[in-house]
């Protein structure tokens, strides 16, 4: 974020922001889809998926979702903070 410097194109920022919200909306849907996957696994005791694999899968999805939600929360916060107009570094125009 900081490397990108000042908001040169406001439209782009707004656009990013919209897509970010889209991502936030998609997240639970993604979670539902991923957590319904175990239902497709074979359920007979002989050829069933080992519990360890199932554990890793379910908790792995969980961790990823938490991470995404965390990143989204972070983004939303910094974007809100970015709303304040920052001084443009290096722009020598005094007008």
């Amino acid at each position: 974020m900081s490397a990108r410097g000042p908001n040169l194109f406001l439209e782009r920022e707004t656009y990013r922001r919209r897509r970010l919200l889209d991502a936030a909306r998609v997240l639970p849907v993604l979670g539902i889809a991923l957590w319904l996957v175990p239902l497709l696994w074979p359920a007979t005791p002989e050829e069933g998926v080992p519990m360890s694999v199932a554990l890793v899968y379910v908790f792995g999805v969980w961790a990823v979702l938490i991470l995404c939600a965390f990143l989204f929360g972070l983004k939303v916060r910094t974007r809100h903070a970015d709303d304040a107009p920052a001084p443009r570094p290096g722009s020598g125009q005094t007008r």
Binding site: L27, P28, P45
Partner: protein, 891 residues
């Protein structure tokens, strides 16, 4: 025995610490220096009351029995939390903007402030949550008993004492203040502390099991796969249904609603909780399967898997860890019970007791003496006691472990019946009260019939025969195989039927019924909460007595806050004193303020009682519409008036400008006149003085001077005559002497008069044959004009051989006489001025006062004709446009 006494003392110390924490937090909040109490971390931790004793102990037992299925209890809430942007954000915003006090209050408020709905939800919540509370009592009792080593160790006594203690805590810190917006900092902080304790406890046991007992992650995984729950086996129906139920429970459970919406300090805390709470759940369930597997392995067959969390450390002779685990379970159970009892008591007192109380006392009126605050707080305390007593009685009566274990999910299924009305209310403006009632009734009934009664059926509430064969032997009405749908898991069966029929009834009845105006207003406010957090509301102006309102508010909010509120409002309205006008806005605000203490429906009812006005009827809305139409009309009139005023002002300004100009002209005229009079007077005075004072004056000089004096006097007289003439003409007092004559005669007379006595008369060029036209006007005046023009030509024509052409022209139906000489004419720049008074061209050559042409113009104006300088002719040229014959005929 020793362990037990240690346990009891540890518990007591722990509880005392909790009391201290709560008291301290309340104190700090009251002192206003509790910023960290409102931090997102505390908010997130307070949400952890979702993890009750049932999850702390029960999750391991659940995993030991059915493998990974236990995790669905946490997956649902995780999905809801990470989807906060969709639903929770809106819920919290509405909760804050409408000052909602409970889930029942929210639904009542959404559906037209209907207390009936609130009562229904309250009853449902009490029915669903009470067994849940008894489950917590059981978990505490069981963990006590396992420490004691004997299952017979007077569990009744323990449960009773715990129930009393928890009730005391809830009453002390949950009913301290009345306004639910002032939050229960003490309770929330204590709950947050307990959240930390239970997380640490479970993690400690888990780490001990994985690394202490098994020896690392890899051997743990092997052990898991080798155990009796080593293969992943779930029923798809249960997996989905429990995920759905737990998701619904996170929103609909009264205690969850309490901490998530009512106690929410800042909407932005959701942002943190959105990932932090799932993380908490993640950590809480991370070690559940390992503990279950190791417990199944190591502990003797037949030991209760629900207590593995405590019994494993005990088995490994780690008493300290076991104590910590016990405290974790104790924390889980107590925090849940305290908040649940508090939330339920708010619902019961606001929606059951207060309406009854108000109805019973409506004869007296709420403005009569008596402190309602006291009544509300008392109602809450009694409610907490009653809820706790119910939980204890349920625990005491059922006593069956298996039945209690099943209760958790059954409670979830029951509370989930609120979901359709809640979600519909938040997102669908077409949802009506009738629809919500229908859906709730259908769902509630089906839940009781298919889940609650069979679930506790072994305790003998419904006979086993009915369960097997249906009521009166009607097979398709069997509670666990409704309409012939057999072979389903009971909870899936119940969830499917109750929720689907609930939703169907809700939607269908909503579409068929018509909402009241208040419902529609509230619906719009809820669904579009982000568009207008403060929107149009229901109060219409009514002759309420501000004093009565103040009296009532004082009794509910307390004197200081009420006084402050009214004072603030009066200032906002710009009214002196402390009593604001009961405007709709004020009533609205007051109602919201009150609803924070006593719930929306009750607050509404109380304000209605004083204001006397009905809420919003169609008539009111029509009146409002009429009013606005009138306003539009009125503003239109105002606009017209303002335009008229602008016009008038412009006219006035114009008139003023004109007057100023005229005044200037008058000043100029006066100075001109005095100057004109002064010049001949000076020479008359000078020459008469010479005649008087000079003795020896020749006769010749004497005659010359007398001649000058005479000439000047004549000139003076002429000037005065002219001035008089002009003023008469200008003032319009001239009387016209209308006569008829031919033009040639008139011109003859004029030429003769003008040129009489001239030393060298100007040559006149006329066409007598064309001048036979008959005119009818004031002949003297007209000839005065002609004379003036001819005399001017005589005076000013500078040609060496001057002559004047006089021609009669016919311009349409008008006649014009042109006077054109062969001189240089009037200079272009002077032409605009020659008809003005005292305007003289080319110096004082002929001794005129410069009034002649001005008089001519005035005369022609009077006669109805015109005089103008004729541009483009050879020399000086004037055109006299004779009066129109029609105008003459009319005179």
């Amino acid at each position: 025995m020793d362990t037990l006494s240690i346990l009891v003392s540890v518990c007591l110390v722990y509880v005392i610490i909790l009391f201290a924490v709560a008291a301290l937090a309340d104190q700090m909040a009251a002192a206003g220096k509790a910023r960290w109490l409102r931090s997102p971390v505390v908010y997130t931790l307070s949400l952890s009351i979702y993890c009750t004793g049932w999850t702390f102990y029960g999750a391991v037992g659940y995993a030991a029995r059915s493998g990974l299925e236990f995790v669905t209890i946490y997956l649902g809430p995780t999905l809801v939390m990470i989807g906060w942007w969709w639903g929770l954000r809106k819920l919290v915003r509405i909760g804050r903007s409408q000052r909602v006090t409970s889930i029942a209050d929210l639904l009542a408020s959404r559906y037209g402030k209907s207390n009936m709905l609130a009562i229904g939800v309250t009853i449902l919540a009490v029915l669903a949550v009470t067994p849940y509370i008894s489950l917590q009592l059981q978990s505490i009792t069981l963990s006590f008993s396992i420490f004691a080593g004997t299952d017979e160790q007077a569990p009744d006594n323990t449960a009773f004492l715990v129930a009393v203690g928890l009730a005391l805590f809830a009453i002390l810190f949950g009913t301290r203040n009345l306004d639910a917006n002032e939050r229960h900092y003490g309770v929330v902080t204590a709950v947050a502390v307990e959240a930390v304790v239970k997380l640490i406890a479970l993690l400690a046991v888990g780490i001990f099991v994985v690394w202490g007992l098994v020896g690392g992650i890899a051997p743990m995984m092997e052990r898991i796969d080798a155990s009796e729950i080593g293969a992943f086996e779930v029923q798809g129906g249960r997996w989905t249904a429990i995920t759905l139920l737990s998701a619904a429970a996170l929103i609909c459970l009264p205690r969850m609603f309490q901490v998530m919406v009512v106690e929410n300090d800042d909407e932005r805390h959701l942002r943190t909780a959105a990932w932090a709470f799932p993380l908490y759940l993640f950590l809480m369930s991370l070690f559940v399967v390992p503990i279950a597997v190791v417990g199944l392995d190591l502990l003797p067959v037949g030991s209760n898997p629900d207590l593995f969390v405590v019994s494993l450390p005990l088995f490994a002779e780690r008493d300290g860890l076991a104590m910590l685990a016990f405290l974790g379970g104790f924390s889980s159970a107590t925090s849940m019970v305290i908040v649940a009892a508090m939330a339920l008591s708010i619902m019961i007192s606001n929606h059951l007791i207060m309406p009854l109380y108000l109805t019973a006392r409506s004869g007296l009126g709420v403005t009569e003496t008596g402190d309602v605050r006291h009544v509300v707080l008392m109602a809450r305390r009694v409610s907490i006691g009653a809820v706790m007593a119910l939980g204890y009685v349920y625990f005491d009566v059922s006593g069956d472990d298996a039945a209690l274990a099943a209760i958790g999910l059954i409670a979830f299924a029951g509370i989930a019946q609120i979901l359709p009305a809640l979600v519909g209310g938040l997102f669908w403006r077409g949802a009506t009260r009738a629809g919500a009632l229908a859906g709730l009734t259908a769902g509630f009934g089906l839940w009781v019939y298919t889940a609650l009664l069979p679930g506790i059926g072994t305790a003998g509430i419904i006979p086993a025969a009915m369960l097997a064969d249906g009521p009166l032997g009607i097979g398709w009405l069997r509670p666990q195989a409704l309409f012939g749908v057999e072979g389903l898991d009971p909870i899936v069966h119940s969830t499917m039927w109750s929720l689907s029929l609930n939703t169907t009834a809700f939607i269908a009845v909503s579409m068929l019924s018509f909402p009241s105006p208040l419902e529609r207003l509230q619906g719009a406010q809820f669904v579009n909460v982000f568009d207008h957090s403060v929107g149009p509301r229901g109060w219409t102006g009514s002759p309420a007595q501000a004093e009565d309102l103040l009296t009532m508010a004082r009794r509910i909010l307390g004197p200081d806050r009420a006084q402050a509120l009214f004072h603030r409002e009066a200032r906002r309205q710009g009214v002196g004193g402390n009593l604001p006008e009961p405007t709709p806005e004020f009533l609205d605000r007051l109602e919201r303020e009150l609803s924070g203490s006593i719930g929306t429906a009750t607050a509404h009812a109380m304000v209605v009682q004083i204001v006397g006005g009905e809420t919003v009827s169609v008539e009111d809305l029509m009146a409002v519409a009429d009013e606005s139409a009138q306003l539009v009309e009125y503003s239109g009139q105002l606009e017209a008036k303002s335009a008229e005023l602008t016009r008038t002002a412009a006219q006035l300004r114009e008139a003023n400008d004109k007057l100023t100009q005229i005044s200037l002209q008058k000043d100029g005229f006066l100075s001109q006149v005095s100057h004109e009079l002064r010049t001949p007077m000076t020479s008359i005075r000078a020459f008469s003085e010479i005649l008087r004072d000079t003795r020896r004056l020749s006769e010749e000089d004497k005659n010359r001077y007398a001649g000058i004096i005479h000439d000047e006097a004549v000139r003076l007289t002429r000037l005065l005559d002219d001035l008089l003439d002009l003023s008469v003409l200008e003032s319009g007092q001239v009387s016209l002497n209308m006569r008829s004559a031919t033009l040639d005669g008139l011109l003859d007379h004029a030429v003769a008069t003008a040129l009489a006595g001239a030393a060298k008369p100007i040559a006149i060029d006329r066409r007598r044959s064309e001048e036979a036209a008959q005119i009818d006007t004031d002949l003297d005046r007209l000839s005065q004009v002609f004379i003036n023009l001819i005399a001017n030509a005589q005076k000013y024509c500078d040609a060496p051989d001057p002559w004047l052409t006089i021609r009669l022209r016919s311009l349409g139906d008008r006649l014009a006489v042109d006077f054109i000489d062969n001189g240089a004419g009037v200079p272009r720049e002077a032409r605009a001025l020659i008809f003005e008074k005292f305007a003289r061209v080319g110096g004082d050559k002929a001794g005129g006062a410069g009034l002649g042409l001005a008089i001519c113009r005035e005369i022609m104006d009077r006669l109805g004709g015109e005089i103008a300088y004729l541009d483009g002719a050879q020399g000086g040229a004037f055109r006299v446009l004779l009066p129109a014959p029609r105008a003459m005929a009319a005179q």
